[in-house]
Amino acid sequence: MTIVLLDEHRALALCADADGERHTVETALLEKAAVGEQLLVHAGVAIASLAREVAA
């Protein structure tokens, strides 16, 4: 899923899946997150962000 909007205070992100559908995702387990970044999301929680150097 791709981050569309971030609420860093609540550790939440609005993310879009491959079909463009939007979901609220918990980001507390990520060291940092940024809009446009792709996340691996499991049961509503981001457990990894796809490697930045690969994503670029």
Partner: protein, 371 residues
């Protein structure tokens, strides 16, 4: 789609398939276990096995979270769901897993308030919306899903949601792998390591496999090219006489895992001394329960549960399928009495179950070219 399309490239797939062919020693039969149910699903969805020579056999492991839940745990969940006033929440697959007297879906049909959720956070939301009801979440899954439950319990604590609790059936992947490696029934040459579990725990926990058992492990992603490449990497290790943990899924998996997730898991959960796995029996230190600090959110302490061990139906051979001893189509009830619409065993319930993967993608026993 970035990170998807490039890992489904047919020309590259054929090239890796050719590489695999070049690495295979003629006359030798290779058995490679894909630990994770997500891999099993991808292999049969994309026909990855059709790109392998016949003497490279994929053996399906115990890494489907729904498949390994024993019937007694389902009965425990149903007992709580049937308590008046309880809203019982679980993932969709879990609703169809048969207990000794039906499934959670049957309990729902009989009047219990059982609701499907996509995340434990949805269950917490239901609890906040229904402060006069007890809301219970049936937590299942490996280390991939456990952080989601842990964060939800932390949120429940922080927000003072007192009507929320969790029946915890989370499991860990290393103990059953060790049990399989100790099993005299199974001879394996290598392992495709579970990519998503490794996202959380890292690749390091799998080092015991080469160190203690002399088998290579390649942590792999879930697209067809990921799986093909991981098989090539295992075969290359074997061909070169090497034996180590390699990380094919580096775009997601850090070798040390997700340290924040591990911290949360250590805070919220502790190991059960024993946990029963379907088909594998009791395995020490393989299940998680809520730690003392979170015991007040433990549904097994808040409510009375039967906690009785229930034997699987005699006709069902999920145990042998989960151990990789038989292929799904070799089960006596596969595709006849047991189908995804009316499953007898758990392996036919979840899309990650080996039986469901074979059934849904029409993969049955057939001849392949022997090298």
């Amino acid at each position: 789609v970035k990170f998807v399309d490039e890992f489904r490239d047919a020309a590259l797939g054929r090239a890796v398939s050719g590489e695999i062919l070049s690495l295979v020693e003629p006359g030798r039969h290779y058995k490679v276990m894909e630990v994770c149910g997500g891999h099993t699903h991808s292999i049969y969805k994309y026909g990855v096995d059709d790109l392998l020579p016949a003497n490279v056999e994929l053996v399906h492991g115990p890494g489907c979270p729904v498949c390994v839940i024993p019937m007694g745990r389902v009965d425990d969940g149903i007992a709580i769901a049937e308590i008046p006033g309880v809203i019982f929440t679980c993932f969709g697959d879990m609703m169809r897993v048969p207990g000794s007297n039906g499934s959670l879906l049957d309990a729902k049909a009989a009047g219990a308030d059982v609701r499907m959720v996509y995340s434990p956070l949805d269950a917490l939301r239901i609890a906040k919306q229904n402060p006069d009801r007890e809301v219970v979440f049936f937590a299942i899954g490996f280390e991939t899903t456990a952080p989601s439950t842990a964060l939800t319990l932390k949120r429940a604590r922080a927000e003072g949601v007192g009507n929320f609790s969790c029946i915890c059936s989370h499991v860990t992947i290393v103990p059953p792998l060790r049990a399989l490696l100790e099993s005299p029934d199974l001879r394996l040459d290598g392992f495709i390591g579970p990519g998503h579990v490794a996202t959380v725990v890292g690749a390091r926990p799998f080092e015991f496999i080469p160190a203690d058992y002399g088998k290579p492990v390649v942590v792999a992603g879930f697209e067809p090219l990921d799986i093909l490449q991981s098989i090539a990497m295992i075969l290359r290790q074997l061909a070169e006489g090497r034996c180590e943990v390699e990380n094919q899924y580096r775009r997601v998996v850090p070798y040390e895992g997700n340290l924040r997730a591990l911290e949360v898991l250590a805070e919220v959960f502790e190991l059960r001394p024993h946990f029963e796995w379907r088909g594998l029996g009791f395995i020490s230190d393989s299940g998680l329960k809520l730690s003392q600090a979170y015991a007040d959110l433990d549904a097994e302490l808040r409510f009375s549960v039967p906690g009785v061990r229930v034997a699987d139906p005699k006709a069902c051979q999920c145990g042998e399928v989960l151990k990789g001893v038989i292929k799904p189509w070799e089960c006596k009830v596969f595709g006849t009495a047991c189908t995804p619409e009316r499953p007898i065993g758990t392996c036919m319930v979840s899309s990650e179950g080996a039986c469901a993967a074979y059934y849904n993608f029409g993969r049955f026993a057939r001849e392949r070219e022997v090298v």
